[in-house]
Amino acid sequence: MTNHYLSVEGLKKAYPTRDGKAGTPVFEDIHFSIEKGEFVCIIGHSGCGKTTILNVLAGLEEATGGVVIMNGREVKGPSLDRGVVFQSHALMPWMSVLGNVAFAVKSKWPDWSKAKIAAHCTEYLEMVGLGHAIHKQPAELSGGMKQRVGIARAFAIQPKMLLLDEPFGALDALTRGTIQDELLKVVQATHQTVFMITHDVDEAILLADKVILMSNGPLAKVAEIVDITMPRDRTRAGMHHDPQYYRIRNHLVDFLVNRSKTYAGGGEFEQYDPKRPPVVRPGLVDTSDAALAPDAVRPLTQLKKVVNQ
């Protein structure tokens, strides 16, 4: 249809009920796209089907309807083109840190010599700051270190796209910050295309080029797509000096707190077209008074300005 790097068209997922009939879809009519080198975050409450969408992108799950097209080809089944970082790190505890990464590298390049694989893995492990721990067993690592191994494993196979399923969810705030920095660094260096699930608004603002906001499930939809218009060279430390930061943050929090429940195609959103979900740029709109107002109608006025531009 279009020349997007990846496009999701009309995705729908329904689980059969106990008596075998098709249940209410968790989500339906999901449309969005990702460009090459873009970092996309998806935010939404639990139960809106974020992880399912990620799994469909990864090819680990099949959607009930709709297609995912990447590079002009439909995604069917998992592939080395799309690296996945799992929520629970998913390291294999019977392999060393190096072994885990090497397992992935060997899968991608089966012909490589042992030495070449080891060198390649070491490079990526050093990139996430684990050069000193390559011969350790996963059980000897802290949660943050394990997740870094998971990230290194995903990067090491140099996938066309990286899928991250809330990778820092289980980490304490301090560790999370450090790893976010590292991820940011690596992504900026490699121009990796990334699709990431997060619950953390700051994380999304720090990392993403755009944020997909999901309304609540069942029958969840893409409510809005928020462009993060802040310059790309963000840092965790300096980000909140940018005036855009608060506007974007308020917009996202406001959505999560107030609007995500009612957004599911209610009557007041007549203009809503699921094929072209509204794209907003709250960072560029100077409505310091409106941004904090907990009014469900006001964003609609904003919306009208930006819809279909």
Binding site: G59, S79, L80, S107
Partner: protein
């Protein structure tokens, strides 16, 4: 602290053993039978009196002498029906080994299949449920009839009884491999063989080894019983042969050896189990 504890435990074990031997000794002190009436010395001789014949339950000393006697020459061979305990244990271990190996060759792949496929699980489940509770020795007559060879039948019985714990544990272990690990393998487009050996097998190995350890325990119990039944060679035959002579010290000796070998087998599998167990 922990060395102190194990030292105290060892001391207590020794003490308990000493108590056991002491009570045994007291309980089997020869009753004062009175002097043999010299009037019928021939009758007494025919009854074995004075010929070092032990009366009643053997004393610890008598059993101790038996241990020394058998262990001092464990590999003698006085013909097909009288071999040293070392040779007999070797025969039993060979049979158990053969049956167990066969069971492993069948149970692991089949367990994999069952564990991976809900369809196979359901299809095979009724058979497994019916076959599993059958006493291994109940197979013996059927095996003898069909296989027409007692050695092969013995091995078959080991095979069939080793099978179930291994099969079920393998199936369970494989079925409950963490989804994430499977997904990692899938996203890496790992081929089925590599996935089986590098991901599923190591992931399920602790569970599988537990099954194998249970199987080995059963196999060792069963081989002794089977050899008592079929005879010829093996430690079970040794027990039967000594029981046929109503030689209790020898039977006690054999029972102890069976226990020790069983313990060593279990220990060996414990070590293996530790080797494949991973910390998460």
């Amino acid at each position: 602290m922990s060395t102190n504890l194990s030292f105290r435990a060892a001391l207590l074990s020794v003490l308990l053993f000493a108590c056991f031997i002491g009570i045994w000794h007291l309980a089997t002190l020869p009753a004062d039978g009175g002097a043999v009436s010299a009037a019928d010395a021939e009758y007494a001789a025919l009854m074995g009196q004075g010929a070092g014949k032990a009366e009643g339950f053997p004393t610890p000393a008598a059993v101790g002498r038996t241990f020394v006697h058998f262990l001092s020459d464990p590999f003698y061979d006085n013909g097909p029906n009288d071999k040293g305990i070392g040779i007999q244990i070797a025969y039993s271990l060979l049979r158990v080994g053969a049956g167990f190996l066969l069971a492993t060759l069948v149970a692991l792949p089949l367990g994999f299949l069952i564990g991976m496929s809900p369809l196979m699980t359901r299809a095979l489940n009724p058979f497994i449920q019916v076959l599993k509770p059958i006493s291994p020795l109940a197979w013996m007559p059927l095996a003898l009839y069909v296989l027409k060879d007692s050695d092969v039948s013995g091995i078959f019985v080991i095979f069939i009884c080793s099978m179930w714990p291994m099969l079920l544990n393998t199936a369970f272990g494989v079925a409950s491999v963490r989804r994430d690990w499977i997904n990692v393998a899938r996203t890496l487009e790992v081929g089925p063989v590599r996935k089986a050996f590098r991901v599923i097998l190591p992931a399920a190995a602790p569970t599988i080894l537990t099954g194998m350890r249970i199987s080995m325990g059963i196999a060792w119990i069963v081989i002794v019983a089977a050899e008592m039944l079929v005879g010829g060679t093996g430690v079970g035959y040794f027990v039967w042969n000594e029981w046929n002579n109503l030689a209790l010290p020898n039977v006690i000796f054999a029972i102890t050896m069976i226990g020790l070998v069983g313990m060593l087998l279990d220990f060996a599998f414990g070590v293996l189990q530790k080797m494949v167990t991973y910390r998460d």
